[in-house]
Symmetry: C2
Subunit: 669 residues, 2 copies
């Protein structure tokens, strides 16, 4: 058994019908990026301040050890980024080291992410040029650590309900930040527990006794030299969490804390010395900060999914069980789940890149037609929200699939899947609850569809947005049933599935629209709306990939292009199968078609069975990042797994409590 495993693994790589290295280059955005990334992994691998070295094991760190180790990683990273030798290799290498650490530790990723992405982004997008000049250098050189105080104990991120107040005192030219109740306590704030010197705070703003809406403020939390709390601020560690024990999530209470007026972010709003307040031109500018963060969250969540999928896929080809002593990956219950999961990871990466580019176009060009800009921002908000919903939920399912596919061995902490699932715990609710996210998408979709259907409003857009298919809304509504009688033709012409998904979506959204008009409440249709929004995300992934891969592209290795087309086709079939209930409800799909879709979908997963190892190899994760002996690259899993647990302290021997609790019972006649 244990000798067979590496042979089985090697055979899988031989069976790949594409050049795994070429796909790895494609995945990393070019050969050069791939090489730099592998170099970064090599650099961190043996650094004891960045990676836990045997016999210590990453999963065995206590909460306090993990909090300390993670801060040590940040300290070491900053030193490395300032090191002349590292700097001489270009900024890409520094970024690759950062990315390598993001891969290695979710706690690191979120702890530094709070500072680098949340705090810094809010400063850049909502702070004036002057504020940027004042703060950015300290942020970028880690002279301050910033956090992001939005959520409160009693109010999650429903901004309307937050209780923290910022009241302008014209006599002193200061704002007074206050937490009036226990439920106003800022809660879950990453880095607020022990580390952050500063925070961005969102608060209900009162000027001249009048509520003027929400604003963001910079408040200092701790002394930069001593680490002690500033006067009138109390903050502490949130304690034990389900995952990410290296991140000091915290809580903050403000007790009439005073800050200068100039620490209200004022790129879009303003308050002069006389107390005259100018509101933002549109609430869109205030929301826009959340879009890139959400896209980043989606991408980072896919790292976790791809790690778990790599581990479970590898275990699946070296473990044999059953009547014919098969590889367990040969069971439909295995490959039928892993093939779409892997395809999903590829689709999300590709679509997230597209959204990044689109967001750059929107924020860079100043000369855009306001109507077009607003349309795109609405659409971007909608698609980023439902992508978060889809990746959060389907990602959860995939992780659970990985857990179950590894049998009992996923229950061992030494195989990392449990840790990934624990770290994942925050994602379906944090950063915007998924139900709320999908509801928001649904509302925007319903609005845009109404605009199109009732007023024929559809601006000429800058790029193909996620709701592009609404252009053909009337046409879709007029089609009673899907015309495809032989589903197997769908992989020859990928647009067939695209049309089906879009037709179903338009019909479903229109039904919801009509039921609302007929008096149904949003709550009555909540599950329908959420499901339609989720399907919109799945369809966007498909459209995006069809656009990229359906035609020959000379810049892409032909083998790579071919496997990407196969993954795209599988994703389309997966989406059509998953949401066939939606098509069925609309009478668009017949029972016969639904059965055909299922059959062909499963057959397509079977066709990819032997490609799964190559597809996960291309992601290029070293063993030390995966932290799972059962997911080792070479398939030689059993001895290293056993050795890992033998390295644990007190693994063998009489327990310290034997005399106290066991002997008194057993040592009697």
């Amino acid at each position: 058994m244990s000798q067979q495993a590496p042979k089985d693994m090697a055979a899988e790589r031989v069976a790949a019908e594409f050049d795994i290295e070429a796909l790895a280059h494609h995945w990393h955005g070019g050969r050069n990026n791939y090489i730099i990334m592998q170099k970064a992994f090599s650099l961190i691998k043996s650094d004891p301040e960045l990676v836990v070295q045997p016999p210590r094991n990453f999963v065995e760190l206590t909460k306090d050890e993990s909090r300390e180790f993670t801060m040590g990683q940040i300290h070491r990273l900053v030193k490395l980024l300032q090191d002349p030798v590292i700097r001489s290799q270009g900024p890409e290498f520094g970024e690759a080291i950062f990315q390598a650490l993001v891969n290695y530790s979710e706690s690191f990723s979120m702890r530094i992410g709070v500072h680098r992405a949340l705090f810094r982004n809010v400063l850049l997008m909502l702070g004036s040029d002057k504020q940027r000049d004042e703060w950015l250098d300290a942020v970028d050189n880690y002279r301050i650590f910033g956090c992001f105080a939005m959520t409160e104990l009693g109010h999650s991120s429903a901004l309307r309900d937050i209780e923290t107040t910022a009241t302008y005192d014209p006599n002193m030219d200061e704002f007074i930040i206050n937490s009036p109740t226990i439920t106003a306590t800022k809660w879950w704030i990453g880095m607020a527990g022990k580390t952050a010197t500063h925070t961005m705070v969102i608060a209900q703003t009162y000027i001249g006794g009048k509520h003027v809406g929400h604003n963001w403020f910079i408040v200092q939390l701790r002394d930069r030299s001593t680490g002690e709390l500033m006067p009138n601020v109390i903050a502490g560690d949130i304690g034990h969490k389900v995952g990410r024990s290296g991140l000091d999530n915290g809580w903050i209470q403000f007790h009439h804390t005073r800050i200068p007026r100039t620490q209200m972010l004022n790129r879009w709003v303003d308050l002069d010395r006389q107390g005259n307040y100018t509101p933002a031109p549109s609430p869109v500018v205030m929301y826009a900060t959340l879009i890139p963060e959400r896209v980043m969250l989606v991408l980072n969540s896919m790292l976790m999914v791809s790690h778990a999928v790599t581990i479970a896929t590898r275990y699946g080809v070296v473990r044999r069980q059953g009547n014919q002593n098969q590889q367990i990956m040969d069971y439909l219950s295995h490959y039928g789940k892993f093939a779409p999961a892997i395809s999903f990871v590829y689709m999300v990466r590709s679509a997230a890149n597209t959204l990044d580019e689109q967001f750059k176009i929107l924020t860079a060009g100043g000369n855009m037609d306001p109507e077009v800009y607003m349309y795109h921002m609405g659409d971007m908000h909608a698609i980023s929200a439902c992508m978060k919903g889809l990746t959060g939920w389907y990602g959860s399912d995939i992780l659970e699939t990985c857990r179950r596919a590894c049998g009992g061995h996923a229950y061992s902490a030494y195989n990392n899947i449990g840790q990934i699932i624990d770290d994942w715990g925050v994602l379906t609710t944090g950063g915007g609850d998924n139900v709320v996210m999908l509801q928001q998408t649904a509302k925007i979709l319903l609005h845009l569809l109404t605009q199109k259907l009732e007023f024929d409003v559809y601006p000429t857009l800058k790029f193909k947005s996620s709701t592009h298919y609404f252009i053909r809304a009337k046409e879709y509504l007029a089609i009673p049933q899907w015309h495809v009688t032989d589903v197997t033709t769908c992989l020859d012409d990928l647009s067939l599935i695209e049309e089906a998904l879009h037709a179903i979506l338009v019909k479903r959204l229109n039904t919801i629209r009509e039921e609302l008009k007929a008096g149904a409440t949003h709550n009555d249709l909540l599950l329908d709306s959420v499901r339609a929004a989720e399907m919109h995300a799945a369809a966007f992934l498909y459209s995006d990939a069809v656009g990229k891969y359906s035609k020959a592209d000379s810049s892409v290795d032909p083998g790579v292009a071919k496997i990407m087309r196969r993954l795209t086709g599988l994703w389309g079939l997966h989406s059509l199968h998953t949401y066939s209930d939606q098509g069925f409800k609309e009478g668009f799909l017949t029972p016969q078609q639904v059965k055909q879709v299922e059959k062909f979908y499963l057959a397509t997963t079977k066709g990819l069975r032997k490609q799964l190892i190559g597809l996960t190899d291309a992601w290029g994760y070293p063993d030390f990042v995966l932290k799972a002996p059962i997911g080792k690259y070479d398939g030689d899993i059993y001895e290293p797994y056993f050795e890992t647990l033998l390295m644990s302290k007190n693994s063998i021997g009489v327990p310290s409590y034997h005399g106290k609790y066991i002997k008194p019972l057993t040592d009697t006649e």
Copy 2:
């Protein structure tokens, strides 16, 4: 916000349309049982050896602390059970104390369960009277601790493939137990890590050079006085796991370990001094041990689900959010999930009781017709396996629902849901992988259906078994479509849904049968088989409850009977909705019916919205068992939640690593 919460909670209790206490009595099997159980909870609550006392928190115990604390609980429990004052209150009270601890700690539950249920049951069911006389008293008085060594590193519980051998040496009249390879190492064995003095071992048995099958052997692992390992046995702790850190799962290797011939369990098999081996009369007698264990596993898993559901339901009624500042439980995405989850808990408890009774009939009476006995045993195996599958998977979904329904606060370890999910991690794969379990059910169902359809074989049974509906198989096959045009009538006559579920099942199973005959492989139809088997379990739950609650029963409080009927009806609609794809595939349900079922199902969940708190109250879990401030009985959640984390060590203050990692970066200009 924080003042409103207890008021909201109180209003929920007022809204209950049944007597909560009467339902609590019903749930506990009578008023007396309920009172004893509450007394047991009171007894353990303040005992520092049984329950972690503040300021320490159960979730903060390290792995080693948890292992020790759990053994301390066992030691204390044994002392309590031997205490004359406790004994004077009858064996029910001792059992209630045990159950109270099972509720309090999953680690305790499984650690002692290995000894009390697994080791002891195997001895009772497979050991001869002589062996029972020799060992039982030591087991029941904890002079030995027994574990159960089935799974191996390389083979989970696929018995055919296990590698451990037991070779009879006629010269010494001994068996030699051996682990020939690393993958033969017994793995995951509860209590083998540090505690167990003895183990049951299943091994490939060789007598006179011939393989005679599997047998169970008693092997001593550790000295009862010193706790040291016995010669030629190596065992150790499996280390860090995803959950149940108080249980010392372990691994065992046998190095030509010798035991007397008399330590082979020989109720059904025998080996005499001359080396003559008598095999078991039927393999059924060897499998039968697993049935009650599986039913117990199902029941215990429902404890975890009901704990999480109680916490999340309570949080759902005290948390307010949204446009109208609603209780979040008022959202369809909340009550639409919790109503069926709560109904499921009630259904499973009821059905598990039925199975327990049926198993007693089967094992008690010796004068049963062999054909009837075999039929029932096959059916019992099938239903217990698919119940494990359904509860494992739907239970996972419910726990994830609970996690998401609590927003970020389920990510705090102090609210226990994360811990429950971690502890749950072992259930979908341990004790028989769910896919394998459901496959086994499907195979038995297909066999029995074939017997009925092709040979009209159906014995006159002792009781209504899970496949009872096969009697009407031909009739069901002849019905083209469901006759019900107004689904809302289904709650007036609960048999309508029962017939629909059974008709769909017979049709689905028959389709699978025909596809197999036409040349499809079992693997091709794996997902279909597994889904049909899962649906069979759901239908059994429904039939069982319909049998119990559809008619007036003078022994049950009328209000209780009424709410139980409503829960039963909801479960039926839930099942019909969940498996409507199956009915649709068979053309039995029209799109119109599927849509009607969904609408009426959701409306029925809405009708139960205000009953949810009362329904969870009836389970009678004290706050200290739930370990979740956000799930407090009185709804006063925020201050206790905050106080809980303030009790944690180093909650506030400059971290120890400030000078090393933070100050060097921030204390610069």
